[in-house]
Amino acid sequence: MAKLQAPQSHQSQPAAPDGGWGWVVVGALFVTSALVFGIIRSMGVFFVEFVQYFEESAQAVSWITSIGLAMQQCVSPFGTALCNGYGARPVVMAGGCLSALGFILASQATCVTHLYLTLGVISGSGWALIFTPMVASVMQYFTRKRSLAMALGFTGVGLSSFAFSPLFQLLVEMYTWRGALLILGGLSLNMVACGALIRPLGTHKAVAALAPGESAWSCASIFHRAYSYLELSLLFHRPFLTYSLAITFFNCGYFVPYVHLVAHSRHEGFSQYQAAFVISATGVTDIVGRVVSGWASDLGRLRLPHMLVLWTGLLGLSLLLLPLGSLGGSYPGLLIISLAYGFCAGAMTPLVFAVVPEIVGMERMLGALGLLQMIESVGGLLGAPLSGLLKDLTGSYTASFLVAGGFLLLGTMVTTTLPHFFSCTDQRPLQRHARNHNNKQQNQQSPESGLMTNSISEKLNHIDTIPYSQPQLDRNSLQPEPELYMPLNRSRTDDATTKC
């Protein structure tokens, strides 16, 4: 009984259980992130087969994951808008079916364009409908232990990319890529079961959005509903825009090492096994960093934005030092700095999500997450090609690492311009602003209704991309995977006082 929130739909948003069924939802997030991003990372196995079967270049084939990731990020706002309208459970289940459908249709492909459409567009849209709502649901279930829950949920990505590559190789050998894609479609269908695990914690916006006397399907009401579901009011919210700029800068620099670390190691003269070991070790410290950061943030010693700035600053620093570490052919130096990079990159991830409710409030968290995904995809699209260009121009990876570190430090500085950054306590005025803003814009909405629209900016989507499938990955396939940051809002202050 304690597991179920009493459905107080007329009241303000119910207090998050912070445990109990929430941990089941964390398990669902674990499986979901494993199936979405683990599959994306391990697609390299299929790329070899596609290149051979369709006789296309590696570049053409790598567009598949690029399109898939781009769809996952750009359709995110619509995913969260549907969540606002219909609740997370049906949306995630529909997303699971959609992504499975993409894989099943892909097994019948006869040209690469079919793969673009099925694996890229259809599965990508399915992933968009799954990932952001899943993250938002976990964030709603937890307040005090939010970061830890998110960090644990995201470890699924790291672990699955270790396990999936050999598994996919085996499937391809037994059934060729067609049969393997079919079986992957079946595996993706498990996300429907994960979606079924999300028990709604209160009603969604649909109930509250209708004003009396207005028909449900008139133009104005549809426009208003779309506006409120998509949280477009956030585009006028200066702190949100500041934060999304910072996250975009983060994204520019975040993925560069994943793309270039192996090549840089080989460039410095290390063997293929040594380079692969560096990447694997970085992946392990990434997972560890996530969990440690999640746990540490929940202790409440430092404010979330401060911890975020700490980790991103360290990350930028380690990127700047990366070319130095391998100077003189020193393998321990390269390894140590890469481990530091992995740890800071993982530590940053939960915080990026956690800070969002502090900025935009729990009401608009959901829409903000979607919008943030879309905005930050720009960073990912720019970052990797830019670093590749720098490498081509200068002949070594030093310049691209320095630029990536520079982007991260720039994002850190932009983060410090957030309102109330330098105060020592969590501030609440943001939510009140948001609420007044909401009142002005949408008359039908009352702040006291149990709104699930929390704008959680999913800042760093690209956290977990690529390191595990290097050979076939080029910059196109490096689209970042949306890592959900755990919103580490000291939600003690957050949710409890939102509606009061």
């Binding site: 009984m1 597991k3 179920l4 009493a6 289940m93 050998e173 037994m174 059934y175 060729t176 067609r178 049969g179 393997a180 079919l182 079986i183 479609g185 079946g186 595996l187 269908l189 498990n190 429907v192 079961a193 079924a196 695990l197 028990r199």
Partner: protein, 305 residues
């Protein structure tokens, strides 16, 4: 007429003439045949043994030269001889002198399709120092040990590659011990053979189950043909479909279980002490626990009262 001068001149000239024919001391056969190119291959041995690969495209005379520098004893004379495929070549034993801290042994072999094999020169001291020359036609580049899997109705492409382009490529399908030549011109709808210098590709279209088996690609050189085998396995779409359907069934069962569990536990909790109409709900299909909930309810309400 035949003055003794002329006779003696003839006697002198005759051995010279005889000598002119046999210009080498080692292989008399060389002179008697058509001009054949000579390939030179040498190797230096520092330790105990060494293996070298010699690729031959057409019948040649192969001169193998061995040099051994690693003898600790540094005897002025040791015995050197040649072996072919493990057995000693007759009349090949020679005494080798130490020159410039090394021993040299040289021999010319006529290589044809029948005489390919493993030639080795051996320096015989207290131990034997050997250099092996593996004289063979060029081998294929990639070894395929895993079978290629393909679906019925689909097409499959097999490739063979060598370093040096052969005169011709041939593809066979192995039926037990027999090999059946694949002719792309008689069967253009099913087979397609393309040749591109040192690579060849065989595409089999409209696969059926009988197309499973071993395919052999053969690179024809002047000296011998070099072969490589690849296995093809044709499966129907039912094979991956079985695990797929198993997974779909598992997902459906999981979803049903989750939803049923949720309904059951929400019904259980709705019998908790908050509603007035609890007693009026007899028809739920709950288990004992549901009944317990009702009991708790009653007791609680009584306690409240």
């Amino acid at each position: 007429m035949f003055s003794p001068w002329i006779l003696s001149l003839q006697l002198i000239l005759f051995p010279l003439f005889w000598r002119g024919i046999y210009t080498t001391e080692t292989n008399p056969e060389l002179v008697l045949t058509d001009p054949v190119t000579t390939v030179f291959k040498s190797a230096v041995l520092k330790g105990d043994s060494l293996v070298e690969k010699v690729e031959i495209l057409k019948p040649v005379d192969l001169e193998l030269a061995c040099t051994w520098t690693g003898n600790p004893n540094k005897l002025p004379n040791i015995t050197g001889y040649w072996r072919k495929d493990g057995s000693e070549i007759t009349n090949s034993r020679l005494t080798v002198q130490l020159e410039n801290e090394q021993y040299n042994l040289k021999r010319v072999f006529r290589i044809t399709g029948d005489t390919l094999g493993n030639y080795s020169c051996i320096f015989s001291d207290t131990d034997e120092a050997k250099i092996y020359f593996n004289v063979a036609a060029p081998e294929m580049d990639d070894k395929k040990d895993k079978p290629i899997v393909a679906y019925v109705g689909d097409s499959v492409t097999m490739a063979c590659k060598t370093k040096l382009p052969p005169n011709a490529w041939l593809w066979y399908k192995a039926n037990g011990t027999e090999q059946e030549l694949i002719n792309a011109t008689t069967d253009p709808l099913r087979y397609k053979i393309s040749v591109d210098g040192n690579t060849t590709k065989l595409t089999v279209m409209n696969l059926t189950e009988e197309d499973s088996g071993v395919y052999v690609c053969s690179a024809i050189y002047n000296i011998k043909a070099s072969v490589s085998r690849v296995e093809v396995r044709v499966i129907t779409f039912m094979e991956p479909l079985k695990p797929f359907i198993a997974i779909v069934a598992e997902v459906i069962i999981l979803v049903l279980l989750i939803l049923l569990y949720e309904r059951w536990s929400s019904q259980k909790s709705s019998h908790s002490p908050t509603d007035n109409g609890v007693h009026a709900e007899p028809t739920h299909k709950l288990t004992r626990e549901g009944n317990n909930g009702m009991d708790e309810n009653t007791t609680t309400r009584q306690r409240k009262i």
